[in-house]
């Protein structure tokens, strides 16, 4: 598979799987305002998914459209990072997953606005306002929960610790990522990671949370299609109609 197509699918898969997970909260959030805000994020990510997939499909030129990419690939063909397929858990888990992602996503998208690929730069430009809002929102909530009650502090710290080992995969560049860096298409890992660590540290400090060690063991494999056991279930549900009624138009 072409490196750029692969890279675009990684971007799209991250956004789609996270959007899918968030949409499970529909009507079940802890407050009406949260229901709306979370759905908003899910919608933004879904929109971004479609932009990445459309470009990937076009470059691939294999006759697959956005829906074929979303609904007709099995787990080993998905390239999202493991973080995004982790279960929703309680609301602190959901928000911490979001915060870890949003922080990386913001700096990445910000970097991609300067991509040598004009289409990627344009998509990033279009997404930047959204991901800026996402990051402000999730960081703000982490502060309020971390520095809220004892219960919320404990839940948020537990989520921070539990998800930490999934936070590093985005910076573990393989040949695909490095090819994008070499071509001036994507920002380098080291810069993003430094920005990520600094921002998480800042928010955690304000939130009175302890940041787990930066040199902790990090899980990986998602980008290369080696996922956790969660993804298969997510896809079985998401893809049911397209699989059960092949060739139908919806």
């Amino acid at each position: 598979m072409d490196d750029k197509v692969n890279y675009l699918l990684r971007l799209g898969d991250n956004a789609l799987i996270l959007s899918q997970q968030l949409s499970r909260w529909c009507g079940k959030g802890p407050a009406l305002e949260e229901d709306m805000a979370l759905t908003n994020v899910a919608l933004d990510l879904l929109g971004q998914t479609r932009l990445w997939y459309d470009y990937a499909a076009e470059l691939e030129g294999a006759g697959r459209d956005e829906d074929a990419l979303a609904f007709l690939r099995d787990a080993h063909e998905f390239k999202n990072c493991l973080l995004l397929e982790q279960p929703n858990g309680n609301y602190a888990d959901t928000l911490m997953r979001q915060f870890y992602f949003d922080t990386w996503h913001y700096f990445l998208i910000e970097g991609l606005t300067r991509s040598a690929d004009p289409r990627i730069a344009a998509i990033a430009e279009k997404s930047l306002k959204e991901v800026t809002y996402h990051l402000r929102r999730s960081g703000d909530l982490i502060v309020r929960l971390g520095d809220g009650t004892d219960v919320s502090h404990a839940k948020t710290q537990a989520a921070a610790n539990a998800l930490w080992m999934y936070s590093g995969e985005v910076f573990a560049y393989d040949t695909v990522d490095e090819a994008m860096v070499a071509a001036g298409i994507a920002p380098a890992a080291a810069d993003l990671r430094a920005q990520w660590l600094a921002h998480v540290d800042e928010v955690f400090t304000e939130a009175t949370l302890t940041m787990p060690p930066a040199d902790a063991w990090m899980q990986s494999g998602g980008k290369q299609g080696r996922h956790s056991e969660h993804l298969g279930y997510i896809l079985a549900e998401m893809q049911f109609l397209q699989r059960a009624y092949p060739g139908a138009t919806w």
Partner: protein, 311 residues
């Protein structure tokens, strides 16, 4: 009738809106709180049957439209709770009444969504009926409620069109899809007609509400409007309305339709619908599970306030 009451009724008769700070009879206030909160609860509970298909929507575009629709419903709930709050009751109080089973929500949401076609049928029939119910309320006597309804109706008409569009795709799709659409129409048709409430003969409180201009048309009038509007749409889809007694009456210029099974209506209302228990449980659990979160936001806000007021 007291002088206050006479003046109040005169304003209504003159088409002047009642506002939150105006004097109003206690019964008017209570009736409005019941009606508006019931509507708000329906928006909130109404997210669940659609939420049931959001993770299984068949295309990214349909998923996106459905998500946006559910978000709109949460927004409608928000406007409506705010409108109710102008009458001196808090959102938390209203939610407590919902969670305890004291307050009602529209019975239609006690039916399950069993296929993707139900996303079409709900938009087309349920939102369609809701709009017919709600458009007159944009002119109701209570200002905050009328203004909330204007916003709600605008978005609902999008939802109804999107629902019809789903039905259209299915009706023009494979035989399996067409069967799915027909099955959804079969299941949602009668409950949608029941959404307008008991027939006028059996309806209580209608006269007073009409006088107060918070009920502008009778249940049966609105129901007839729904049938007249929907039957040609079903015909266009090539689907069959599940009512053998349905026929055009050239004399009245309306469709005659069969008798509604009010026993089913009352049975669902009493809690025996297929999903009554689950819908309420889901909402109660969401609320209970979210308590620590809401508490934390309050605690954090208190800390911030204390810090700001510190010397």
């Amino acid at each position: 009738m007291s002088a206050d009451e006479r003046a109040f009724q005169a304003r209504i008769d003159d088409g002047i809106k009642i506002e939150a700070k105006d004097w109003m009879p206690e019964a008017y206030r209570k009736t409005l709180i019941r009606q508006i909160s019931q509507h708000a609860h329906s928006e909130i509970v109404g997210q669940l049957p659609e939420g049931n298909w959001v993770t299984r929507a068949p295309t990214l575009k349909r998923k996106s439209i459905l998500l946006a629709k559910i978000q709109d419903e949460a927004g409608h709930g928000l406007y409506l709770y705010s409108a109710a709050e102008t009458l001196g009751v808090s959102r938390d109080e209203l939610l407590r009444a919902l969670h305890s089973g004291k307050a009602k929500y529209s019975s239609i949401f006690n039916y399950p969504t069993l296929s993707w076609a139900d996303m079409g049928a709900i938009g087309w029939l349920v939102d369609g009926s809701a709009i017919i119910n709600q458009i007159p309320l944009c002119r109701c006597s209570y200002g905050p409620y009328a203004r909330a309804m204007i916003r709600v109706c605008k978005e609902e008409s999008f939802h109804a069109r999107q629902g019809y569009d789903i039905m259209l795709s299915l009706a023009r799709g494979t035989p399996a899809q067409k069967a799915m659409a027909q099955d959804a129409l079969n299941r949602w048709w009668w409950p949608s007609l029941m959404m307008f409430g008991p027939s006028d003969a059996a309806s209580v409180n209608s006269a007073q509400s009409a006088q107060w201009r918070i009920k502008l048309f009778s249940n049966d009038e609105l129901r007839q409007r729904m049938v007249d509007q929907t039957v040609p749409q079903a015909e266009f889809l090539g689907l069959t309305v599940p009512d053998p007694d349905l026929r055009w009456n050239a004399e009245t210029g309306h469709y005659d339709f069969g008798a509604i099974d009010w026993a089913e209506f009352h049975n669902v209302l009493q809690g025996n619908g297929p999903c009554n228990r689950e819908r309420l449980q889901t909402r109660v659990q969401a609320w209970d599970d979210g308590e620590w979160f809401r508490d934390a936001l309050v605690a954090h806000a208190d800390k911030q306030r204390n810090q700001e007021s510190a010397p």
